[in-house]
Symmetry: D3
Amino acid sequence: MVQPLQNLVRLSLPSKGRLAEDALAFLQACGLSVYKPNPRQYEATIPSLPGLTVLFQRPADIVVSVRDGSVDFGITGIDVIEERRGENGSLMVLHESLGFGACALCLAVPEIWNGVDSVARLRQYVEELGRPLRVATKYPVLTGRFLRNAGIPHVLISAEGTLETAPAIGYADIISDLVSSGQTLRDNRLRPLTDGVIQPSQAALIANRASLQRSPEALQIARQLLEYIEAYLRARDEVAIFANMRGTSPEELATRIFTQPTIAGLQGPTISRVIVRSGDPNWYAVNVIVPRSRLFQAISELRAVGGSGVVVVPVNYIFEEEPPRYTAMLKALAEG
Amino acid sequence: MVQPLQNLVRLSLPSKGRLAEDALAFLQACGLSVYKPNPRQYEATIPSLPGLTVLFQRPADIVVSVRDGSVDFGITGIDVIEERRGENGSLMVLHESLGFGACALCLAVPEIWNGVDSVARLRQYVEELGRPLRVATKYPVLTGRFLRNAGIPHVLISAEGTLETAPAIGYADIISDLVSSGQTLRDNRLRPLTDGVIQPSQAALIANRASLQRSPEALQIARQLLEYIEAYLRARDEVAIFANMRGTSPEELATRIFTQPTIAGLQGPTISRVIVRSGDPNWYAVNVIVPRSRLFQAISELRAVGGSGVVVVPVNYIFEEEPPRYTAMLKALAEG
Amino acid sequence: MVQPLQNLVRLSLPSKGRLAEDALAFLQACGLSVYKPNPRQYEATIPSLPGLTVLFQRPADIVVSVRDGSVDFGITGIDVIEERRGENGSLMVLHESLGFGACALCLAVPEIWNGVDSVARLRQYVEELGRPLRVATKYPVLTGRFLRNAGIPHVLISAEGTLETAPAIGYADIISDLVSSGQTLRDNRLRPLTDGVIQPSQAALIANRASLQRSPEALQIARQLLEYIEAYLRARDEVAIFANMRGTSPEELATRIFTQPTIAGLQGPTISRVIVRSGDPNWYAVNVIVPRSRLFQAISELRAVGGSGVVVVPVNYIFEEEPPRYTAMLKALAEG
Amino acid sequence: MVQPLQNLVRLSLPSKGRLAEDALAFLQACGLSVYKPNPRQYEATIPSLPGLTVLFQRPADIVVSVRDGSVDFGITGIDVIEERRGENGSLMVLHESLGFGACALCLAVPEIWNGVDSVARLRQYVEELGRPLRVATKYPVLTGRFLRNAGIPHVLISAEGTLETAPAIGYADIISDLVSSGQTLRDNRLRPLTDGVIQPSQAALIANRASLQRSPEALQIARQLLEYIEAYLRARDEVAIFANMRGTSPEELATRIFTQPTIAGLQGPTISRVIVRSGDPNWYAVNVIVPRSRLFQAISELRAVGGSGVVVVPVNYIFEEEPPRYTAMLKALAEG
Amino acid sequence: MVQPLQNLVRLSLPSKGRLAEDALAFLQACGLSVYKPNPRQYEATIPSLPGLTVLFQRPADIVVSVRDGSVDFGITGIDVIEERRGENGSLMVLHESLGFGACALCLAVPEIWNGVDSVARLRQYVEELGRPLRVATKYPVLTGRFLRNAGIPHVLISAEGTLETAPAIGYADIISDLVSSGQTLRDNRLRPLTDGVIQPSQAALIANRASLQRSPEALQIARQLLEYIEAYLRARDEVAIFANMRGTSPEELATRIFTQPTIAGLQGPTISRVIVRSGDPNWYAVNVIVPRSRLFQAISELRAVGGSGVVVVPVNYIFEEEPPRYTAMLKALAEG
Amino acid sequence: MVQPLQNLVRLSLPSKGRLAEDALAFLQACGLSVYKPNPRQYEATIPSLPGLTVLFQRPADIVVSVRDGSVDFGITGIDVIEERRGENGSLMVLHESLGFGACALCLAVPEIWNGVDSVARLRQYVEELGRPLRVATKYPVLTGRFLRNAGIPHVLISAEGTLETAPAIGYADIISDLVSSGQTLRDNRLRPLTDGVIQPSQAALIANRASLQRSPEALQIARQLLEYIEAYLRARDEVAIFANMRGTSPEELATRIFTQPTIAGLQGPTISRVIVRSGDPNWYAVNVIVPRSRLFQAISELRAVGGSGVVVVPVNYIFEEEPPRYTAMLKALAEG
């Protein structure tokens, strides 16, 4: 009698806030644009991945849904994954660094606690206090484990809203909360401990182990997701450079290029003839792929070996032999 | 070393959403306007209640703060009060019906569960299902107690976001959630059980018992809050009517008025002389207070006994001998 | 098999824009606040008028619904009422001037048509033009009738969007459109004809004749709507003034007051004793109702006859013997 | 005396809503960015099409303006084009599928009309009803023609606002309205008939026939619009792939590539030398264009024939010999 | 040839921001609602003050316009009035404390300047610095005068935007800026000097001296503005209380009331007969006006002397013999 | 004791409005995306330019900060640069035409000043006026210099807000203000003088001379900014075209291409072999870079010489030997 959604492979995305926007932008950049016909619907599709239904949930609910198998895949933060993944191994992390949603779960103390700037100093302070530290947090599992390992007696206080005001209101002594720019902490006159990072976080792709084992469709979606994501992330940091060079032969040009660390690249330049109006037969077009972060250096090297007319074009994807994380996933499934 | 807010009496209000707006509008209507100098600050004041600091927290956090005494008073919903008030009696409800924030915690099932429209039918359905019912909720205490009392085997699933999609996504069978207009349930093709109200709710004023016992300032604030709130709520539903009537004496007019059920009122009309241009000495102005809901009836009655020139003016407050809830609070403190 | 809304009396209000906001504010000021539990629902209620359902439609659709009887009452603009009321008398106007939504359906010509500033000059201009005038409008019935009466050959061009750009785009020569402040016309370099007002407009209350004849509930709602609306509109423009005066008797005070045109009022002042600390027995409190627009004058008059401590209080409603428009409606129903 | 806009070629775009945003985004993607210096102006330009003025109108008004020749070109929906194009052939559709604005004009009935799910069942239902069906619509021409062809007696009811509420309010039995995701129908408990699509729609480019016949400037703009639009639409669905392959000669590589269905392409790969550090002379860069929808397949095929270092770059335009729709337009003009 | 606005009396209001909203709300509360037919127009009217045109300008521009007589009246902040009023006495302040727009022009230093918390310490600090203090400000006249009086060598740096960041960016050492809640200073880690208030400020009503001298219409508007504003401000802080009391005579009741400090009032209670159902002839209604801030005390006093059924109604205006500021203005005009 | 921002190279960007958005979009398009972790912070970074801190200030404050050296670089409008750059040469313009923020400082007069349409006519008009012209402006330096050069007696009136209303309010005769689309002038019935452009403006990159002389880090940032900006601006207007052509040799193809003006380009086409399925050995891929504005022409030329399968790809950057403006800057520094 219960009739949930039609029996398709399902991917849950964050439903609102910065993480939601960044996840949609990331998938679009990967060539996996999400099509949501109506803003009030909770379902969407990715036209280039037919057979996949996209759902929208709060970040922590995504972990629960993937863990219990009611959805097959999810994109959410490492912070909530680690807090809620449970112990039974039903949740697998397929890609642990999607490059957005960076933040960290941190311990932060009032600015006026002079000298309390490390976990060791905090432990000492609590000893003097003579009672357990009251810590407000939305991450009791991770925070409790961290404080136990640090040997700090504590009471965890669960809250729904803005934790940063807890010490001023008085219902907690310190907080354990997500920090990205630190501005909110500063506004509330709190200060993170220098070694108080409980869990660094960014967006990750997760999957339900049983879904992958049971469903060939889910396995195929996993492969496609990882192909696109890895090829996109690799390409995002590379540019393709074309330059004209004069030389006696392609080999002679390559020799000059191989003297330069950046433009030499991994394998070597692609070289084509350029026909010039003067009839000079010794012009060639050289094409190399270099890291975007070394573009400036690459231009200098090309100038140094006689390159001119340097043109840079964008790169959408770079595919390798096999997506390494897909191979890793298959291995983990075989072992699991 | 810990220095929380200056040592004043403190009142927590909801920090955002409809309940927050309604609470501010309610206090303003009571003559207790909240002055918040800066939208980003978490502190405010009520100029007509000097000595009181206003804080802003999420509704559920307000209950925790009042319960543990880090704030003295709170205005929040009965739903979160009953869910989180604990067992030790430290939280007192001073006014249980402030007249806004009405909603109810309800059980709701998918529309397609034909025939499952009561708790009894739900129990029967779960027996046929042969496994515990999975119920998504943010109110595990109230929901668990209700289901145990109803004899329904269940598993509670805690979620952060929009519960209404849980049955469609598949991570729960039914939900236990707040319902006001019911539109969101209908949009998600869910239906509340006819007898599935777990907890009716509206905004209430709560206080920390120990604060009232310990602090004369807090006790004085409690009295002022209850005076203003009760006088406002009483006045909100009354109007003052003035009419001109001709009669041989005030007593004769009153006799006519006492024949009418609404305008007779509890005690009787106030009567003043009206001097008319013609010199006719038999004109009087009559003033009565009647329930706003009976205004229409009162006008008819006044017309029936010869009233004319009927003028209605607003009433801000109606004070009784002593605010009954203040008396009740003193009694509960003495007993507690 | 068709099951429309439950069988209640129904009132349609404008669904969006300035007219919608003003209609809600007007009803609230009348003591008839509309309660809409959910912004996306198309139904609402007026708690002080039980038995009435409120719907929201576009202004022109309200006329159609009231005309064909699918709703009983409507508040909308005279402009769309006159355009769409039809010929069969099924639509009755109960109150023709609710005091908001003022505008006028006007003919407007390009600013560069020098000298064309009246209907007569327009007719002359069209004669020179040698072809019918192309007039863009959303009001073909009213505009066509006006132009026929004016003897101006024309073609009406129906449009959906911003008419003001039609002359510049070239698909019409002039426009017939609603004008309130005239700013939009000026922005588009158009100019209204000085005698080109086709239909002055403001919000009105309309009803379906058959509903009133058939349904006692509808008749009762009509009475209540007119009672509240008329009493509110009358009170909106009056204030109640209280002043202290010293005199030998109420009659002597009244004599002085009757020398002044504004504060004399229609019937005379209400007079009560004031007991002063000095024991002087000759102090009285005088109470009169005066038009708000003459408040300034009334204060001067009171000062002139010795009034002091002048206090002004607001008035919510002023009821007369019977609401005149209700009487008129009954008469029209009897005749119709 | 009438001085409309300066005498340029004119293109009308939708003035607001989703269709307006999508039209601007589409033109930008085609390389025809619209420059609107001021949000309140109704004129804009396309810098890469000098001599063209852009106007903004409501979708239905665009059809009227193009039909009567006051503007030369328009982008608007097929739905309003078919409703308002008239019979005289003055409006020509230059491109009928611009790839955005997809929706359909559909018949929808109340959900509670059990069993009425096709046009045939609707006809049967109306026969039982014993009176013509009342159909609310903004598309009387298309809806009337469809219902006549279906042999269903009906009355069309014209409305301005939200049609979906008409059956609940009671002023119509069913509606004929635009449907995109269907969510609004579901929210209002309506259901489209399975064979009730009156007119499928998406955005189209239209022109005035006489403008094209008369004005060489308009003809030139038509050619440029169609060149850019067709080249963009073709390119949008293709990607350029570069891969390195080792082989004894370009011909040998090509032979391997021609064994694969996707990467063989229509004509064959472009092949350039790659000079590698080891001096191995047998490396080449291979470049093919493949459909974006077959990217995944193409990568597999390249891997299968020894491709490595696969890089994908975006493609802006693909131009054919002549834009086919331009040729078709010239033919239609010659015949028309 | 120059044709400015029609020749009416003119009042300038702030054009945007908090001060603009507060000014409109203040005038509305005074019974002087501003009617602005179009949000983009710069003109408006006050229907209850015919003959007055309302303009909207930036606060500082209002001072310039009133000073040079291009507008007659203005409402703006004391801060800009004092900065820009000039020396020639053409600008008169008619009301210096309208009760909104409170803020202060203050000197603020970086939080890290330990110990620099007063003007004296700042002077000492500048001496050690060995160079003039760089002070960013938008108020060079007031700030320069203050610093000269304080004997602090300085350079004033004029800026357009957010001054608070100037010390961090480095283009000034300290700032002189408007402070209301102080939150922006705290966010930027600045601290006001304890005695660094250069100019306290709130909204004021100003006028051009020559206008008042020359124009009887302007003089009449001045009187009306001051009448309404003073009567409103006086009434805003008062409430009218009605209570029933039993007593042998009005005089006997008054004797009891005069024993109480608050309800005795300035002159004495108004007393009317109340006719009760029992026929007991000794009931009276008592009416007093008390300060809103002493309402709580007044209720206690009324209860103490036997008052019951206490009703509080709002007061719109309290008029005195003559508006004192109007009298003062006439005197200043005569002297000026 | 004063501790401003850490000692990095600093770039100031406009803090709000259209110019701010355009500056961020421009830098992103250049590959220099600005990362601002928190919307309320005034600091940001450009990850691809480590060592650079980005600040946000109002456009005019940017000039002051760069001029006095508290920031090293700025992007702001030529208008404020010329108004505030001062005389001492400390501010250098590194790039004077970034291609956004176009506007002009203009003199504008009331529309009703018939015939006053040039500076000469304005001078004549002022002579007739017999008093200096009152000119409202926020640019006193540039406006004063222009009017002095034009021999027009004038008084400058400084204002904060909307200058366009000054002539209507009457506090100035004409204005000197920034104009982009001219719509605001038209709305206020003002008209720019045909030769009244005081200063044309667009966004520019400026630097502090002393910073560049003193700091190698600043010099390196200057080079990187100019490299990226110049390469981006050059590429923005170019496209890369690939086409297939059949020919007997690359040289023969080139000969055909060199007959065409656009596709011949500056140096000549890059030519690679294409291997076709038929085995025909005479196919080649031709690659040329052409101006985007001549794309249409280039396609025609390619078709004319037998090109087919024409594909256009985007170009991110085109680098020349050395960025000319960097060379110019070094020269100016050496001279300065």
